[in-house]
């Protein structure tokens, strides 16, 4: 246990914390994207839309060992902890970064660093704001006309109208970039990257980032263009 503290005290340890919590979040986002694809089943289904069935599964998972929504809350707390540690480590590392160079260069060129790697902080802040907005919107039901708990499909389709879907689509750009650099960085930071495997790992990060972005954007566009029979 003291090993964890020794490690976390160092800048490398804080990076390792960011890597592990980041991976947890990437896994969540990927599964979330796959869940979103159930929008394609449409409003039909018996007796309710497939998206609602999936929603119920999330609330009831772990039954009978876990009660109603218990599994869901375990996942939520785990994710909240991951977000908290990720943000806290990021703040500490950013503070080091901002004080590391007190006088700026008159002229500084970027040699090869990717756009994704240079926008991790800005992108992370945008993603954080998006998550808060997304929870208020489709979990708590703000700005969703006729929001009804459990009627996931109807909420999604009626919520993603007007400017909302465009905000969702806009947020996918920093998310994709963050995953692309973050997932590769996970391997580098934990010491599992080398010249032999770096192309493969960058490819994996790109693939995951693209799947998440394309999957989510397509779902948002589908919901946006779906009109409900009134």
């Amino acid at each position: 246990m003291t090993g964890v503290l020794t490690l976390y005290r160092s800048s490398i340890g804080k990076k390792a914390a960011m890597a592990i919590t980041g991976l947890l979040m990437v896994l969540f986002v990927f599964v979330h994207m796959i869940g979103n694809l159930k929008v394609y089943y449409g409003p039909g289904g018996t007796p309710e839309p497939m998206l609602d069935v999936y929603g119920r599964f999330l609330r009831e998972m772990g039954y009978p060992i876990l009660g109603h929504e218990q599994g869901l809350w375990i996942a939520r707390l785990l994710l909240l902890g991951a977000v908290g540690l990720h943000v806290w480590s990021a703040i500490q590392l950013t503070e080091r970064r901002w004080t590391g160079r007190d006088v700026k260069y008159v002229q500084q060129k970027t040699l090869q660093a990717s756009w994704a790697s240079r926008t991790m902080l800005r992108g992370g802040v945008i993603i954080g704001l998006f998550i808060i907005g997304h929870l208020l919107h489709l979990t708590l039901g703000y700005f969703v006309p006729n929001f009804k708990d459990g009627a996931v499909y109807l909420n999604v389709v009626s919520g993603l109208k007007g400017i909302a879907p465009w905000l969702y689509i806009f947020a996918m750009l920093p998310l994709g970039l963050h995953i692309y650099h973050g997932l590769w960085s996970f391997f580098q930071t934990l010491g599992w990257n080398s010249q032999r495997s770096t192309e493969l790992l960058r490819g994996l990060a790109l693939l995951v980032a693209l799947l998440v972005v394309v999957g989510n954007v397509s779902v948002v566009l589908t919901a946006m263009m779906t009109t409900l029979p009134s």
Binding site: T2, S10, I12, R96, R97, G100, R101, A113, G191
Partner: protein, 252 residues
């Protein structure tokens, strides 16, 4: 060649410093960048002005003393090259060249283009405890081949040992992180059998000292390796991360 130089002039660590423009004439394309600065200084002295202070020693690219940020790139536009090995043929007649010192809180400016890099020395030394060296009891000279070392490991250790400690990695890093330097020093000893005894303590102490010196953290952008005159790979940073994680758990 005639050039316009925009040089950072700063009297001492407390001075604010500023960019001063100089015209320099009669520069040969065969001169090294430092020889061009020598010519500039001669012309400044003739005019009765204070010459530009810059660091240099071997001028063969192996000592790590010279280091200037030239047009926004540490050691200038040529890759895998120190400032002293950069030649003026990389520039054209009439060019304007901006010359700045390394910029990092851990590298305070002594004067003009000279920075104090003793932070690196402190990382190597760490109060005489296991730092960037191995402790060896003196005695009889051991046989040259007494300790077998796999060729791949020896080669890799040599790649890391090529680090001359110039500090270009810190200068190039947008976070002013010293990870590539420390990783090279941790890596070359960690790969060899002689370095195993102090391996865990070494990485713990060197990383702790690196953090104390006020260098920024690594965000895996790779600018350090791109600027490194000895082409030290990011792989060594991954290797050090791995060592650091292991050492933390072994030593607590």
């Amino acid at each position: 060649m005639n050039l316009t130089l925009r040089v950072w002039r700063q009297k001492n660590a407390k001075d604010r410093g500023r960019i001063v423009e100089y015209k320099v004439h009669d520069v040969s394309p065969d001169m090294s960048f430092l020889e061009m600065l020598d010519v500039t200084n001669e012309q400044l002295i003739e005019k009765g002005e204070e010459p530009i202070a810059f660091d240099h020693d071997c001028r063969e690219g192996i000592c790590g003393m010279c280091g200037l940020v030239i047009n926004g790139i540490p050691h200038g536009p040529e890759s895998a090259t120190t400032t002293c090995q950069l030649h003026m043929r990389n520039f054209s007649n009439g060019d304007t060249i901006t010359i700045e010192p390394w910029r990092a809180r851990a590298f305070p400016i002594i004067r003009d283009l000279i920075v104090d890099r003793t932070a690196f020395d402190r990382i190597i030394r760490v109060d005489g405890k296991a730092g960037g060296f191995v402790s060896i009891s003196t005695g009889g000279v051991p046989d040259a081949n007494a300790i077998p070392i796999p060729k791949d490991d020896a080669d890799l250790a040599m790649d890391a040992a090529a680090c001359v400690g110039c500090g270009a990695c810190v200068a190039a890093c947008p976070n002013a992180s010293a990870m590539l330097f420390v990783a090279a020093k941790v890596g070359h000893l960690g790969l060899l059998p002689q370095g195993q005894t102090e391996r865990h303590n070494r990485v713990l102490r060197m990383v702790s000292q690196m953090d104390k010196e006020g260098f920024g953290g690594c965000t895996n952008m790779g600018e350090c390796a791109a600027a490194c005159p000895k082409e030290i790979s990011l792989d060594f940073i991954a290797r050090m991360n791995c060592d650091m994680i292991k050492a933390s758990f072994v030593k607590g």
